[in-house]
Symmetry: C2
Subunit: 246 residues, 2 copies
Amino acid sequence: MAPRWKGKDAKSKKEAEAEALKEPMSKIISQLQSSLVQSNTCGFLSDNCVHLTVQAEQLDLLDKACFGRPVRIVEKDMYWFQLTVEEAFYLCYSLKCLKIKINVGADTGPLNDEELWHYFRSKKETFPYFYKAYSHLRMKNWVVRSGAQYGVDLIVYRHHPARVHSEYGVLVLSHDKDGDLNGRLRVWSDVHCTTRLLGGVAKTLLVLYVNKNGNNDESLLCLTNYTVEERTISRWSPEQCRERSI
Amino acid sequence: MAPRWKGKDAKSKKEAEAEALKEPMSKIISQLQSSLVQSNTCGFLSDNCVHLTVQAEQLDLLDKACFGRPVRIVEKDMYWFQLTVEEAFYLCYSLKCLKIKINVGADTGPLNDEELWHYFRSKKETFPYFYKAYSHLRMKNWVVRSGAQYGVDLIVYRHHPARVHSEYGVLVLSHDKDGDLNGRLRVWSDVHCTTRLLGGVAKTLLVLYVNKNGNNDESLLCLTNYTVEERTISRWSPEQCRERSI
């Protein structure tokens, strides 16, 4: 399926595509990275997310780069912003442009990567392989958002959701330490269900299998040994392959 | 959701409903039962189904009662017909109107219920609780067909599919002897996916949980101890409950 750019007519769709090409996601993310580093931005842990206060410029860049969501205005030109645990860890650990403290008034310095890793793991059992999947897609400049609305783990956009419809619905699978496959696609009816639903909203099912390669220890180090296998699953109609003469 | 009778306009939908009321499914099934008993109909085992040859009258009744599907014409006024294992066992064991031999030319008599049960079990691991679910719905005069097209196990109609759209997509769940829940709805994303897909085609998700009540032996006797718990699962929109004043 080709990307479906947003617009009322062919011309405005072309314009959305041209604008996206002119301002690629990699460039936006670099700008966000520089801005957060310069202002020495520091977030703090909330229960299952990370909060930070940012200025109008960063609010704009976070929105353009599709990280998190604004919560409310704190004071003039200061905005309260909420990141998912994967987004926060990506900005801290992979992009090195965000620091995170244990709470808003903490006198102690920011947590190091290993401490954050353990905190997020403790809050969300699936964090290690969900983070691997998230960062795997982000590093390839895909925009990644929650897929709850479509009954999948993530949805993936070629550029900002205001410019283009998402192309993939993603399920993240892995084996736990007992060898059980977590969650989905264990039976045929689930494969049917997922591909049919996503097909109906013009998305393709992308399965990311995170292979832990035998690393069942709990440290951040094991993340570097994880590998990702990618598969797309589509419906196939027998008519596609029938010879015209039959 | 109200039943959606088929028709081009309101008038023909009303007619479809009136016809269905005039000729209830219980009556059609009684006619099929009498006809098959009178002609001493005998099918034979195929790999994962049962085949039988029937005359035009029974072909018509099988179609009206929504059992199986015609395969081809054998000779003038004789039709080759195919039943699923659940349909065949329902006609044999519950309605006592079909006999089944081991193969088409067998000199031996028909198999008894226990022999059939073991044969179907050996061909389809899920047969015991799928049969329980199938017969549970059929005995309440629902028409039951495969739900593969919608990524569920079964779909359920109030009357013949020519007259009415199906109302429910059914998933059949049970615990196997190790205590594992077979298949579906183990994670939230699957619940989302299934309800969203079925909602999109105006069906409700019906979950039939077959409780084996500790019966893990393999004989037909255990079937009588199985019980069925029924749940429907629907999407809920928060707007439904919001007070108008807010």
